[in-house]
Amino acid sequence: MATPAPPLRVPGRMLARVRRSGRLEPWMYLAPALAVLGALLVYPLYQLVLVSFYDYRQPQVTGAEPLRFIGWGNYRALLGDPQFWEVLANTVVFAGACVAGTLAVGGSLAVLATRLSAWVRTLLFLAALGAWATPAVTGSAVWLFLFDPSLGPVNQALAAMGLTGFEGHSWTYTKWSAFGLVLSQVVWCSFPFVMVTLYAGIRAIPSEVIEAARLDGASTGRIATSVMLPMLRPAMAIVTIQSIIWDFKIFTQIYIMTGGGGIAGQNLVLNVYAYQQAFASGQYGLGSAIGVVTTLLLLAISLAYLRALRRRGEVL
């Protein structure tokens, strides 16, 4: 045995052995994950792109008609379809509103939580935990019941307060009311993640730092923006990115609450649109093209955000 080497600036002692036993060892540990991700994430992604270049509709799937490579045909059809642009706009506005709403509610409640008495905070966190734990499907079912035109307590309460216009009022009838309804459900079930994470982040800020700022005569607002916010940035980055990722690909809530996309498809977002085109209308090539667009859009937003963070010197 060689004498112990002086401490190296390497992740671990294993490195020493790695040099001896070849470079295979890390790959052995990586193998299961790589196999799973390769087969079930990378390969389908490749297939998604491939299918989007084919005329791949129901007859082609079942083999009744031959496959035909049509290049950008599906994309041309998509970009030339005004409905696609409307759906795209819907998605961006709706998801953007969901992200903003979730961050605003979660952030302000995190701040509020630091000022609450312990027992109130516990209650708030318990309620939030319940909302967080609620699956999208049950959340949507509960929302549909709460806002049911005739049997729902919301309309009943509004009517009892004298707003008789709400008797039998349908919340899913107009486009933005339906989106608003879904938005409230999304915010309800996703703000707890933001709240808990940011609360933990605030708590992790050493109190001396804040005390010092206060002694320097900084106001509360000043402390919040100049001291706390920069220290919270890594946590903010996580919750923002996660919210963007989650909200841009919402499917279940829209599908269930608006009955698959709302009146005349007014509440379609990209994922639901792709699903309807593929699995209801049998246009798998077109559906795949929508999927590619969604993926690129989401990657672009996420990467742009990551880059902005990195440029400011934040490391995730």
Partner: protein, 278 residues
């Protein structure tokens, strides 16, 4: 003091608003069917009954779907955590050429909207089903496969922090004791990162438990292989919805997650902390 009181009452009010949908769900599951159909607006019930639960469990065979969901989620948690833990070991305790590239790829993989992959995955599962029916369409195996893949990137990312946090000295000590790298990973590293594993598993569990899209697309005709979300949706009928049954089903579906959450709530923040610190 007065200010404290004001913030506290604001906090309480918000708590009530947040908790209201859950309260209404449980309440409606316990209300008698007649009261629900009459649109009884009372925020309480004097004659609670388990009738809705009985209807759901006995008539609609909800227990079966509950078992299916539990089975799929448990399998996904085990598989994805195992894959992710081993990958996290490789990515934090070894230094090799493609390490940085792989890390970036794991990060990017998290951002892939898996919903967009429904189409290719559907056809992939169909292909797999032709050789291994249990992993193909119409079988729960297909759901386990896709969710394992979806849960793994985030799990790797989160576990990385936990694995890296185990001090190097332990590794050296174990090395001096003559343990091989695998023994160290399994006997020392794994137990020490258990809290992180638990935190990570929550995400895999919830994601799988909540999935509606893949469950509804993959399980084509095998009613006995349906999972909870799809079964719950089948309670929505073209005529009058049986809200009692829907709410009872919702309670049954939410409860396991809630219990899981309460059980690990302390780990939630720390798990995310791990992910944040990375």
């Amino acid at each position: 003091m007065l200010r404290r009181l004001r913030t506290d009452s604001a906090g309480l009010l918000i708590t009530l608003v947040v908790a209201f949908p859950l309260y209404w769900m449980v309440l409606s599951a316990l209300k008698p069917r007649t009261a629900l159909e009459a649109g009884d607006p009372a925020p309480y019930t004097l004659s609670p009954t388990l009738d809705s639960f009985r209807r759901v469990l006995v008539v609609e065979d909800f227990g079966r779907y509950l078992l299916n969901s539990v089975g799929v989620a448990a399998a996904v948690v085990v598989c994805s955590t195992l894959c992710a833990f081993l990958a996290a070991v490789a990515l934090t305790r070894y230094r090799f050429r493609s390490r940085a590239t792989l890390l970036v790829m794991v990060l990017i993989a998290q951002m892939v909207p898996v919903e967009a992959l429904t189409i290719p995955l559907f056809f992939l599962m169909r292909g797999i089903g032709q050789s291994v029916p249990q992993l193909g369409l119409n079988h729960l195996g297909s759901l386990v496969l896709v969710h394992t893949a979806f849960a793994t990137p985030l799990a790797i990312w989160m576990l990385r922090g936990f694995v890296a946090a185990v001090p190097r000295e332990l590794e050296e000590a174990s090395w001096l004791d003559g343990a091989g790298s695998f023994t160290f990973v399994w006997r020392v590293l794994f137990p020490l990162t258990a809290p992180g594993v638990v935190a990570t598993s929550i995400f895999a569990f919830i994601m799988t438990w909540n999935d509606f899209l893949f469950a509804t697309t993959f399980i084509i005709s095998a009613q006995e292989n349906q999972t909870l979300p799809v079964a719950l949706l089948s309670f929505f009928r073209p005529d009058e919805n049986d809200w009692g049954a829907i709410m009872a089903g919702s309670v049954l579906m939410t409860l396991p997650v809630l219990v899981f959450f309460l059980f690990v709530q302390r780990r939630l923040a720390s798990g995310l902390g791990g992910a944040v610190k990375g």
